[in-house]
């Protein structure tokens, strides 16, 4: 019987050191550590994320996929800057760089905008992954496509993107009509653009298409509606996802309602809309920026390992 951990002792020690450094970083900046429920009645209605459910005798609850909703309820109630380090769960996300249960650092800065947060995340990751030779690179989503394919992602059609994918040897099984415009952008971004990011330093990608805004503010930039959101990478590995948080109560309600409708159209089950979260947004979220960072992946980079099970004590198959 295989009972030993999938991670070595050195990785476990490195994890303990990493958590200590994160907490010191937060303490120095006056950011308060909080805990919020992992098992809730409501949950995310994001069409791209599926929750794990837990059947209790009288109700169905869901394991959180991120602590975003309850942390925003704390912010709306005047908590000020807060952070949380917690386990989160995402259904069917399994691979060498995905473990269905993983450790997230999520934190919010009141009064900051997403550009300030990018700088701070850069400093945090430089601390957690020492020895990166190159300074961070900041790239707009649109320019990633223009530079790589000569294609404007804000002004293109699915057929054009499908032809571009074929030209790059990307064979999508099951036919061209499998994907919509956003799906083709995701395919090209994840299969061609991400692998081109340097592994000598961090890459920040920002100004995503408004369709990928999730709960980030949308603003106009050079005539395009862009989401005030960023993702941070080391090489092709995504480490974090940051937002200028959408604070408008009505906009939050519209977004979650639209997502829930899409899920039901696609015949997918999952949690109901989080009404308590929306009530908090109606009452008013302060102007803030927030980010979620996958700490297992950060540890992977810190140790120069290749597979998540090397840094997780008992990876999914051994859990």
């Amino acid at each position: 019987m295989e009972w030993q951990p999938s991670a070595g002792l050195e990785a476990l020690q490195a994890r303990a050191g990493l958590l200590r450094q994160v907490r010191e970083f937060m303490q120095v900046r006056g950011i308060m550590e909080v805990e919020t429920p992992a098992l809730s009645r409501a949950g995310t209605t994001d069409p791209a994320i599926d929750s794990l459910s837990v059947a209790l005798p009288r109700e169905l609850r869901y394991l959180h996929t991120s602590p975003e909703y309850p942390m925003k309820r704390l912010l709306a109630n005047g908590s000020g800057d807060i952070y949380q380090i917690c386990k989160v769960w995402r259904l069917d996300e399994s691979g060498s760089r995905h473990n269905p249960e993983f450790t997230l650092l999520e934190y919010y800065r009141v009064g900051h905008d997403y550009r300030q947060l990018m700088q701070e995340v850069g400093a945090l990751l430089a601390l957690l992954i020492p020895g990166l030779p190159a300074a961070p690179v900041f790239r707009e989503y649109r320019h990633c496509f223009l530079d790589t394919f000569g294609l404007d992602p804000f002004n293109t059609r699915p057929e054009t993107l499908a032809a571009c994918a074929a030209a790059h040897g990307l064979e999508l099984q099951g036919g061209q009509d499998k994907l919509d415009l956003q799906g083709w952008l995701d395919l090209l971004f994840s299969h061609v653009i991400e692998p081109g990011f340097p592994d000598t330093g961090l890459t920040f990608v920002y100004h995503y298409p408004a369709a990928q805004s999730a709960l980030a503010c949308v603003s106009e930039h050079e005539g395009y509606a862009v989401a005030c959101r960023f993702e941070v990478y080391l090489g092709p590995l995504e480490l974090g996802n940051g937002y200028q948080e959408l604070s408008d109560g009505a906009a939050n309600t519209r977004k979650l309602t639209r997502d829930a409708r899409q899920r039901s159209r696609e015949g997918r089950s999952g949690p109901v809309i989080d009404r308590r979260f929306l009530a908090a947004m109606q009452s008013g979220l302060p102007h803030c920026a927030g980010v979620a960072i996958g700490l297992d992946r950060v540890l992977l980079c810190r140790l120069g390992e290749k597979r998540l099970e090397q840094v997780i004590s008992f990876a999914w198959e051994l859990a």
Partner: protein
């Protein structure tokens, strides 16, 4: 028709792609921060042996290939087909065409237990035992006492295969060969 969902993908799973049977070599789950997830998969065509990369939208279903591996004893070659018998006592026999034999043919003289991969109940691929023992039928005379120089010479075996053997080996001697590398392993002493 049996199918697999992409969430069941793992190494060794057999799939039908464009009418051919494939086996998954490596499955990678790829997902942008917010958006569509994909399975990027390295698959080997079981007919040609070629390895290619394919991408599925996560959540899609793929037809399963009816491919199984069975242990069979090689009986004889009739000039066109290679005949095998299942070793489970059922006496069930299968005939493999030349195309399924690949390299296996040159290591088999009879009675070896091979792994025969069946696709829709027809032999698709034959894997010989990892080690076989065969007699040398033709080679230059052995150099007496030369067990240290490390030199080698070609030798033809009873099945027609030609391998490299140490200089001290002689005709009629029996050698042990690793069929995965096609290399000489050791001399087999006559008992």
């Amino acid at each position: 028709m049996a199918t697999y969902n992409t969430s069941e993908f793992r190494s060794g799973l057999k799939l039908m792609i464009d009418g051919d049977p494939y086996v998954i070599v490596e499955n990678e789950f790829v997902k942008p921060g917010k958006g569509q997830a994909f399975n990027r998969v390295r698959v080997r065509n079981l007919k040609t042996g070629r390895v290619v990369e394919k991408t599925w939208k996560s959540g899609d279903s793929v037809e399963a290939a009816d491919v199984v591996d069975r242990e069979m004893e090689f009986l004889y070659n009739d000039g066109e087909f290679w005949h095998f018998m299942v070793t489970d006592g059922s006496f069930e026999q299968f005939a493999a065409a030349e195309s399924a034999m690949n390299d296996a043919a040159k290591w088999l003289k009879g009675n070896e237990v091979c792994t025969v991969t069946l696709w829709n109940d027809a032999p698709l691929n034959v894997t010989p035992p990892n080690f076989v023992e065969l007699q040398i039928v033709e080679t230059d005379p052995g150099v007496k006492g030369d067990t240290a120089s490390g030199g080698s010479k070609p030798a033809r075996l009873e099945t027609g295969a030609v391998i490299k053997v140490p200089l001290y080996m002689d005709q009629d001697e029996v050698v042990k060969i690793d069929t995965r590398s096609g290399e000489y392993v050791s001399r087999v002493k006559e008992s």
